[in-house]
Amino acid sequence: MAGAGRRVADSRYSWMLARRYALFLLAFLALIGLMAVAERLGLPRAWIGASFLVVTVAVYAGIGFRCRTSSAVEYFVAGRRVPALFNGMATAADWMSAASFIGTAGVLYLEGYAGLAYIMGWTGGYCLLALLLAPYLRRFGEYTVPDFLGARYGGQLPRLIGAGAAIAVSFVYVVVQIYGVGLITSHLTGFGFELGVFVGLGGVLVCSFLGGMRAVTWTQVAQYLVLMVAFLLPLTWLSLNQTGSWLPMLSHGTQLERVSQLERELAADPAEQEVMSLMAFRAAAAERKLRDVRTAMVEDEQLQLQRIASLRAENAPLARIQRAEREFAQRPRTEAQARRLYQRERDSALVRADRLGGMPPQTLPFAIGGSAHAAGDAAEDDAERRRFDAARMNFIALVLCLMMGTAAMPHVLTRYYTTPSVSQARRSVAWSLLFITLLYMAAPALAVLVKFEVLQHVVGVPIDDLPAWVSRWSRLDPGLVSVRDVNGDGILQLGELTMAGDVIVLAAPDIGGLPYWVTCLVAVGGMAAALSTADGLLLTVANAISHDVYYRVVRPSASAAARVIASKVLVMVIAFVAALTAALKITDILQFVSAAFSLAAAAFFPALVLGIFWRRANRAGATAGMLAGLGVCAWYMGANLPLLRSWLGITRPLAETQWWGVEPIAAGVFGVPVGFVVLVVVSLLTARPDAAAMQLLDRIRLPQPGER
């Protein structure tokens, strides 16, 4: 039988791949060992960082070069020969971005239980993907997600809206990945940010430019292995140091208990409370300045001038005078700038005026800030209950949004076009989720172990005796780690230590006292996560333009070779535009990333799901549903995201513009239902879809003979 012959060939192919990647893994471990020895022998740090970086990027580029292709099936969907297991790894790497690798543990460290919304949302979405979308798209068997919209609904409009949404969502996301690459390389090798961006860009380009999906797939598998080793090695090491357990995912419960114990002690500590009340005082001062910004500006200016004069008079060290002068030079010039500065001052002081430096107790669900439940006062109880309800509502809304967004992200959906069969596509979703779960179960463990280390060995230590990593990271960027002796007792209170979320993973080896090469390894893992996601996204944007817009709409006569060339040129152009955008260093861009999930969910989820499961869905309904969903999301974000509010000049208070107190990050929770309802109503009001759509439905719903 031909089927049996194919199965034997398939399994031989899988074994060959498994052998190759096992060799790769061994070589990577050998590189790690080599670096560890090199550090012992005294190789300078910059060399260790640079060689880690150069070797791994060179390997990715090498894989990309070996897989170069100009055939359309190879370029767009990796020849549809990727076995389920390997597609699972590639999807996991494609999916786990710099934000997953670096950010998740950071959010869990800072927000405790609330951060678990990301863990649940980013994994649960795979259920929707497996049950509702992946197998059907694979049986449909074209190249892109807009392809399906175009074939199912007919006409150009659904396809173009889909292509537009795919481009917008993926572009924002790719900019952030490139930003992450720049950040990591500049922090760990001493290259400048811009140079870091271009080194990373080179690695990305070689893959997606030369070999499209084929090269990206095989690089992503390697990148998955790198990023998992880079996350699990320091985590296991920390766990061995702290509890002697090899399985931190199972055993960090004991550390969690000790963290909770330390949190209770700190909340009752008089020095911590002193810092809290000083911070409350500062917040009140900033609030007073906000009431009359103009006067406060003049007063601040005079205060700064006086300080410079008195520093000069007492012959203070030059560095201090220069710092004061720099601060004076950077003072706000306009009233709007000053208002923003005072608002920032007030907000950060308000957070610190709460318990535990504004971090909620690690395990307590839906606590806002450090405020534990204070029983007694009836009004306080009522306010607490309202906050609790709002926090729970937002948690659930965010979880649902992230899930639907995960299932609708075009760069992930296209990965399931690359498996050899429908059943392999289904299995590969299971593999994907397994590989993703490995990282997402590790992230909470790392957050807890790092928190234990900080609460136990950093808080309560005299500021002059702090571990070296504190000053090293705050020198790199005071936005990442900073220490201010607020109450002037010379001892570090938790309320005096600021740590940004990004630092938790990147500095975890430092914080745990591990050697420098582990820090480099973590950085290389973050790079792998960012590069693999950037690769997939770049291809999605380029293919949406070259395949869906250029070939399907503008020039249907274009040959396969011409489409591949168009896509390659676009990959270059988009990568450069994205790098230039990233080089602008718009930090507020993170707001847009979370927004991307809501937009993807609203644009694709209703149209794809009903397109498969509801015969009556038609072109008018899909078009209206996609536009309505996108419109509601965009409107809600515009009215509620701080950055967009200030651009649009919206001044109505948030309480009025928010619906049920839902944060704009979860706008999809409104956009998706609106999309569903509009799609259904408009479809029912207009004509049934044509016979071609019905034939397509029968073809994608039912297994075809010879599919096994």
Binding site: Y113, L116, A117, I119, M120, T123, G124, Y126, C127, L128, A130, L131, L132, P135, M249, L250, S251, G253, T254, L256, E257, Q362, T363, L364, P365, F366, F388, R392, F395, I396, V399, L400, M403, S423, R426, R427, V429, A430, L433, L434, T437, Y440, M441, P444, F613, A691, M694, Q695, L697, D698, R701, L702, P703, Q704, P705, E707, R708
Partner: protein, 98 residues
């Protein structure tokens, strides 16, 4: 309404999909909704609410997908066998049968 193998296959598929989606929705909503109430219980040294959201839900999601993979492979095999028998070589999955 036809009751051919194609119709039966699609009905079973919908039923399986619906049931597993129900489990998915229940996990996603109930775990956060009752988080405060579950915090008093302990598993492996974790408060139950925290463990469920950090690890338990993930394992349940994985179990849902594995159950779906197994269920669908059985349904598809049964469908292809019966379509093969019934049609004797012609395509049993014609339009309009679902």
């Amino acid at each position: 309404m036809s009751t051919g193998p194609a119709h039966r296959f699609w009905r079973h598929t919908r039923r399986l999909t619906g049931a597993l989606l129900g489990v998915w929705l229940a996990v996603s909503l109930l775990v956060p909704w009752f988080a405060r109430d579950l915090a008093a219980w302990q598993v492996f040294g974790f408060p139950l609410s925290y463990w469920l959201a950090a690890e338990g839900a993930l394992l349940l999601y994985l179990a849902i997908i594995v159950a779906y993979v197994i269920g669908m492979e059985r349904l598809e095999a049964a469908f292809l066998d019966s379509a093969h028998e019934a049609a004797g070589g012609t395509d049993g999955a014609g339009p309009g049968s679902a």
